[in-house]
């Protein structure tokens, strides 16, 4: 029965201290329907999912499952009923095999007979085109394969509703296509899918219906295939916010930064080593680096910021060797950095915006003979807040009290006001509301137009194609060539993100350098 209603939420309310995460939410998912749940970060998507999966209880409202009202006792209860969930951050034990990981979430009777379970895993995974070897250890699997384990785990329990939390954020474009085939097949077989995302094009490609949340409330329901992504975005952000920024191409100037065979051997078991990275950056251009998370982006950022040393001559700024200098020295030379983690690296959570201004802008005349010029620091913080439209109660508010987008605007502004020659920004708009993302993009473009070089490390391909003059991808600590954006297709970039690119030996670079 294709029209049967599988799940119905009515008037769901959930309140946390200081915010109403869900405020009277209605949601209805039919059998066999792929239903998108859309909304910006903080719109209440995660809260709603956790309610459906039984992790938390709503303060008010009713939940109806296959026509029967229901109070979920917990995730185990939800699984028993046929509700499966794939979290954005996988919950797998890396040191166990695929079969063992799956067995852990099954009732004891099903988990005991291993050979039967192995056969079932093979059967299910092959049926849905996601081949998996049940005997392999999870730590040998790629990210895409790990996601399959999570999905197969749900399917083996005969889930009739599968919740996927931003499943494509960790995949290459090719892997996304494979996932979508699987999901369509599931839907045809009658399984309902709740697909959480903020990538609108994907939602249009895949989903039958969409429910849009904003500030805890449902602001629209639509058939995403029939309307444009701009229409959907409007529902997500409201009418006041511009949706994107217009970027004119730039004329790059002088060579500014040069990396020559920059390598770094990580000592962190979960880190990625950098392998002979060579690149150049010119004044007045934005260069993008795409890549699936955890492929050396963070190490590259730290190598450029000075948090790790890479050998003095392997990194040059304006012809000066800086590979062995620390962050403070590089800051004085005009290097500014926006790290991926806003709280706990880019800003100290418990400190005020005033103190967080001083954190990296101390070289801007805010200190004298070891004393902090409090008045000047406050003035600097006010300027950042004003010029970059940071919404905050006051400059004395703790960094942690700001929303992700506002804190990111603050951090970008703090760096931009230092008039850097080079800005390295990692995932600057990750988890940021659309309005703030536009403001951040505008700030990056303005820096470029003022003659700075901007290196943009991001997982958001739309953002990269929109802003960058040249771009490439990083995979397993190796950097692809950086080519003009116009010459790069999304398919080719996808291959590069998977590591399929020609080696960048220094001869292929546009610049020559003296033999050591």
């Amino acid at each position: 029965m294709a029209t049967a209603e599988r799940l119905r939420l009515e008037n769901i309310v959930k309140e946390y201290p200081g915010c109403r995460a869900n405020d009277g939410v209605h949601l209805s998912v039919q059998a066999g329907e792929i239903h998108a749940l859309l909304g910006e970060n903080g719109a209440g998507k995660s809260t709603l999912m956790k309610i459906i999966y039984g992790v938390i209880q709503p303060d008010a409202g009713t939940l109806t499952w296959n026509g029967h009202p229901l109070t979920l006792q917990g995730p185990a209860h939800a699984r028993e009923l046929g509700i499966g969930m794939v979290f954005q951050h996988f919950s797998l034990f890396e040191t166990l095999t695929v079969a063992e990981n799956i067995a852990l979430s099954l009732p004891a009777a099903q988990a005991r007979d291993r050979s039967k379970l192995d056969a079932r895993i093979r059967e299910v995974s092959e049926h849905y085109g996601m081949a998996l070897d049940p005997r392999r250890f999870v730590n040998t699997l790629s990210i895409g394969e790990r996601q399959r384990v999570e999905i197969v785990r749900c399917l083996i329990q005969d889930s009739s509703l599968l919740i996927l939390d931003e499943p494509t954020s960790v995949l290459t474009p090719q892997e996304v296509q494979v996932l979508f085939r699987t999901l369509r097949q599931l839907s045809q077989e009658g399984c309902s899918i709740l697909f959480i995302s903020h990538k609108l094009q994907e939602v249009r490609d895949l989903c039958h219906r969409a429910t849009v949340l904003r500030q805890g409330r449902v602001t629209g329901e639509c058939n995403p295939g029939e309307i444009t992504t701009d229409d959907i975005a409007r529902m997500m952000v409201g009418n006041e916010t511009p949706l994107s920024t217009q970027v004119d191409p730039s004329e790059p100037g002088e060579l500014l930064l040069q990396a020559d065979n920059l390598s770094y051997q990580t000592r962190d078991p979960f880190g990625t080593s950098l392998d002979n990275i060579s690149m150049t950056l010119r004044a007045g251009e934005i260069v993008g680096i795409a890549g699936v998370a955890g492929n050396g982006q963070d190490e590259l950022l730290r190598a450029l910021s000075g948090e790790i040393k890479v050998g003095n001559s392997n990194l040059q700024l304006n012809g000066m060797n800086i590979g062995d200098t620390g962050p403070a020295v590089r800051r004085n030379l005009g290097v500014a950095v926006v790290p991926e983690e806003r709280l706990g690296r880019g800003a100290v959570p418990s400190m005020s915006l005033v103190d967080n201004s001083l954190l990296t802008a101390y070289g801007q005349g805010l200190t004298g003979k070891g004393w902090v010029a409090l008045g000047k620091v406050r003035e600097y913080a006010s300027r950042v807040v004003e010029q970059f439209g940071v919404r905050t109660a006051s400059i004395d508010s703790q960094a942690t009290s700001l929303s992700g987008g506002n804190l990111q605007k603050f951090i970008i502004g703090r760096e931009a006001l230092q008039q850097p020659k080079l800005l390295v920004a990692s995932h600057p708009t990750w988890g940021v509301d659309v309005g703030s993302a536009v403001a951040i993009h505008e700030a990056l473009v303005k820096l470029r137009d003022d003659g700075a070089a901007v290196l943009l490390i991001s997982e958001d391909l739309d953002e990269l194609f929109q802003l960058c003059g040249r771009m490439g991808a990083i995979c397993a600590g190796k950097l692809s060539p950086l080519v003009p954006t116009g010459e790069l297709t999304i398919e080719k970039l996808g291959q590069w993100m998977a590591g399929d690119f020609p080696a960048t030996d220094t001869a292929t670079l546009e610049t020559h350098h003296a033999v050591a």
Binding site: P327, E341, L359
Partner: protein
């Protein structure tokens, strides 16, 4: 159903109410403790908290005991703000008193005005070097400073005992383990005549204020704070974590060393085995009770100085053991840590999930 719930914003009121609440709970528990011992609780508390301050001599003694607490606490504040858990003020203190004594005894024939500064400096340097040892172990070998500083405390104590039983023992002291009395030039001037109160109290007050200024106004202080609250942000900003850590140890050691030097050149006038009744450990309570702020530390130092005097008073007046001081100090710290939970959390009454409407 009672449950703890994280506050959206830390409570500022609780930040300061917590020490007062802890003190109140300590006093109440004290009442029961005296009752359990079969003593009159009101009389006991009066002897403990009020009688010691009934005359001007008592107030002078309070100042005398505040001095080492203030110096140790000021130094520890530098460490704790940077989340360096230095428990070694006792050891720094003992090394300071030991080497100040060595200097004083070496210079016993001298009478210049420079003798006292040299003696105090010897204490400061000895304390700083002793602390630096733990600092180097932490920064170079990632040794946990809690363990190393505690162990160094015991080593310092045994070195001091060795000295008073051996090389520094007064040959005319009838075999008692103590040094000769220092010459007058090596003694701290009195602050109030006819009392034991010496200018060490001024050192302590100055140190507390200086540390307050360090964190309120200087860039070094700011860097230490960032290091304590967010190590990754400190690395990102390019603050020299190792050098800052060593600096915190040196300051803590130097100030505690000065406290030790002031003790032997002040009220004692010689080196004895019981040079410290645990000032270095009590200073830890002072720091937390005083909220790591100058004014708070001064008030907390006064309160804890009083617990030493109250303990002595109860020994004399009510025949209770000296352990009563430690008991009160321990209770105070215990209740303080408990009450501090309410800075970040609040209690919420929750009905069973079956109840329908949300609450206000």
């Amino acid at each position: 159903m009672l449950s703890l719930e994280r506050r959206a914003v830390d409570s500022r009121a609780m930040q300061w109410a917590s020490p007062l609440l802890a003190l109140l709970l300590t006093v109440i528990t004290g009442l029961f403790m005296f009752m359990a011992l079969g003593k009159d609780p009101v009389e006991g508390l009066t002897f403990f908290f009020l009688t010691p301050l009934s005359d001007s001599h008592g107030w002078a003694e309070l100042g005398l005991k505040m001095a080492p607490l203030l110096l140790c606490a000021a130094g520890l504040t530098v460490c704790y703000r940077a989340k360096i858990w230095n428990i070694g003020a006792e050891g720094h203190f003992l090394m300071g008193s030991l080497w100040a004594s060595v200097a004083a005894l070496q210079l016993s024939a001298q009478s210049g005005f420079w003798v006292l500064p040299v003696v105090l400096l010897a204490g400061i340097i000895a304390g700083a070097l002793w602390a630096l040892l733990a600092g180097v172990l932490k920064t170079q070998f990632h040794c946990n400073e809690i363990l190393t500083t505690i162990m160094l405390n015991y080593i310092a104590l045994n070195l001091l005992l060795y000295a008073v039983h051996g090389p520094l023992k007064d040959p005319y002291g009838f075999g008692f383990p103590q040094s000769e009395m220092f010459a007058a030039a090596a003694l701290l001037p009195k602050l109030i005549p006819d009392t034991r109160l010496h200018i060490g109290l001024l050192f302590g007050l100055l140190a507390a204020v200086a540390v307050g200024v360090l964190f309120a106004r200087t860039f070094i202080g700011f860097q230490l704070k960032v290091l304590g609250q967010d190590e990754r942000a400190a690395a990102f900003a390019g603050f020299p974590a190792k050098r800052l850590t060593l600096l915190a140890f040196i300051l803590a050691g130097g100030l505690a060393g000065l406290a030790g030097a002031s003790e032997v050149t002040g009220p004692l006038g010689q080196l004895v085995p019981q040079v410290s009744p645990g000032y270095g450990y009590t200073a830890i309570i002072v720091v937390f009770l005083g909220r790591m702020q100058a004014v708070g530390i001064i008030l907390a130092a006064a309160l804890l100085a009083l617990t030493f005097m109250g303990g002595e008073m109860l020994q004399i007046a009510m025949n209770l053991p000296k352990a009563i001081t430690g008991l009160f100090q321990g209770l105070l710290l215990f209740y303080l840590l408990t009450c501090d939970a309410f800075i970040h959390y609040r209690i919420r009454f929750r009905r069973a999930p079956a109840a329908s409407a949300g609450e206000a």
